[in-house]
């Protein structure tokens, strides 16, 4: 899946060292990135640090992002997620370490690492099956079936706006369930 044209242009401007383009990237994506980091870490201060770091990485190493491989939003979200999970894990380790020494240091996370391990992906799929029928249906069509909002609406015989709001509701439910288990 290729990035949209406005991602490409923003990327071109950041590679060319245009500071204003970094500000625009922040304006477009900071609420999403901060929302993700806050949900995973449940800590506003940490989530702000992660948000700042994600945009700094985009500025400092803009060639690490390749628009041929996906959207800027997904790339930024992947890095934010990795950082947020690392934070949660290191907090957990700190709590555990009061009880005794750790035997193994975990591998340092890399940028290009996959978002989800196999068992985590399985948990996401299971969470989808537990959604109420009407919500599960839209998620399966939109994500597993690759349909657009409009196509989802057509197949279910509901207006596009209804399909869209059902997907949004489904995503919120999923987020609640998944982050509750993580915590």
């Amino acid at each position: 899946m290729e990035a949209p044209d406005d991602d490409r242009l923003l990327h071109q401007r950041v590679v060319g060292g245009e500071e204003a383009a970094l500000g625009e990237a922040y304006d477009r994506f900071s609420a999403l990135i901060f929302g993700l980091a806050a949900r995973v870490t449940r800590d506003r201060v940490v989530a702000e640090d992660i948000t700042q770091e994600v945009f700094l990485i985009f500025w400092e190493r803009p060639l690490a992002y390749d628009p041929g491989r996906g959207s800027l939003r997904a790339w930024l979200a992947t890095i934010a997620h990795r950082r947020a999970v690392d934070h949660v894990r290191s907090e957990e380790r700190r709590r555990v370490s009061v009880l005794g020494p750790r035997l193994f240091e975990p591998e340092p996370a890399r940028l290009e690492e996959r978002v989800l391990a196999a068992d985590e992906a399985q948990r996401v799929r299971q969470a989808v099956t537990r959604l109420p029928g009407a919500l599960r249906e839209v998620v399966e069509l939109a994500y597993y079936g690759g349909r657009s909002y409009r196509q989802v609406g057509q197949e279910l015989g509901v207006p596009e706006g209804t399909a869209k709001s059902r997907i949004r509701l489904a995503l919120r439910r999923l987020a609640e369930e998944l982050t509750e288990e993580e915590g």
């Binding site: 590679v15 060319g16 500071e19 190493r61 996959r114 992906a121 994500y143 999923l174």
Partner: protein
């Protein structure tokens, strides 16, 4: 991206939240410290400042092995950066901007390149990179007050300052692309506003590339259509000193970036996807001679 991963990330970002207001200014201040933005300069010199910033972003990602890998002309990445510094230095010298590196002994591109490369081989790649960038940024600042129409002589060639700077921009672009290919990185194109003046220079160079190839295009007018962001349409009189013409008898249509790279010595007339019209034999000669002015 895997659909389950996309679903998961979309779920986690389904509820956007506003970070504190101070975060934006903090970010922008922090960004300057982590990577220098493109140097401020006159609008006509911005394509050069932009390519310098892009090349520097590429160099920032280079690790030890990358610096010693051969990129082009048998040069390592460090030697390539020294070559760019050498040629930037010749322009800097011509306009009275600071020149870094060894004292200027020779004023031709090949001689100065050899001199700067020799000097830089004894230093670390980071030092080479730092001086190349500092000299280029100082040149950009110096250009801000100059007249782009003033004639300047560099490496034996007299041309308006604006064109000399665009030529530096094209060369920095082409070499950044060489380095990115070796590193298997996708270097994005410059923004369309920077591509357009570069393409304009390339179009105006065509009578010269024909002439140095021993061909005479006098009396012929080329309609050049360059497609893609930053492209456009030009009526190019093909004889040196021909008046501006509008009655084109030959036409070429090609991608704007591939055309600029052909002038920059990359790709070939035979492999360039182009639509030719009118006097197609002349059109082929124009394309075959297009790289004639590209040095190393």
């Amino acid at each position: 991206m895997d659909p389950v991963e996309r679903l998961y990330l979309d779920a986690l970002t389904a509820e956007p939240a506003e970070p504190g207001r101070s975060l934006r200014p903090q970010l922008l201040a922090g960004a300057r410290a982590r990577r220098r933005p493109a140097e401020r300069t006159a609008p006509w010199a911005e394509p050069f400042a932009g390519r310098v910033a892009a090349m520097d972003a590429l160099l920032a990602a280079a690790v030890d092995d990358d610096w010693h890998r051969v990129i082009v002309e048998g040069w390592t990445l460090q030697e390539l950066v020294a070559h760019l510094a050498a040629k930037d230095g010749l322009l800097a010298h011509a306009v009275g901007a600071p020149v870094l590196g060894p004292p200027l002994g020779v004023l031709d591109a090949a001689g100065r390149t050899a001199q700067v490369q020799e000097h830089e081989r004894a230093r670390s790649p980071e030092q080479t990179r730092r001086d190349w960038r500092a000299q280029a940024d100082a040149l950009c600042r110096h250009l801000a007050t100059l007249d782009p129409a003033a004639p300047v002589r560099v490496d034996g060639l007299e041309a308006p300052l604006g064109d000399q700077v665009l030529a530096r921009s094209l060369e920095t672009w082409v070499h950044a692309d060489d380095a990115a290919r070796t590193a298997r990185l996708a270097l994005p194109h410059p923004v369309p506003e920077h591509i357009h003046p570069t393409a304009d220079l390339c179009a105006r160079l065509l009578p010269w590339t024909l002439a140095v190839s021993g061909l005479d295009g006098s009396g012929h007018v080329l309609e050049l259509t360059l497609t893609g962001p930053g492209g456009g349409r030009w009526q190019v009189p093909l004889g040196l000193g021909d008046p501006p013409g509008t009655d084109a008898d030959v036409s070429i249509s090609a991608d704007v970036v591939e055309f600029c790279f052909l002038l920059g010595g990359r790709g070939s007339a035979e492999s360039l996807p182009a639509r030719l019209g009118g006097d197609t034999e002349l059109a082929r000669q124009v394309l075959r001679s297009a790289p004639a002015l590209s040095g190393p």
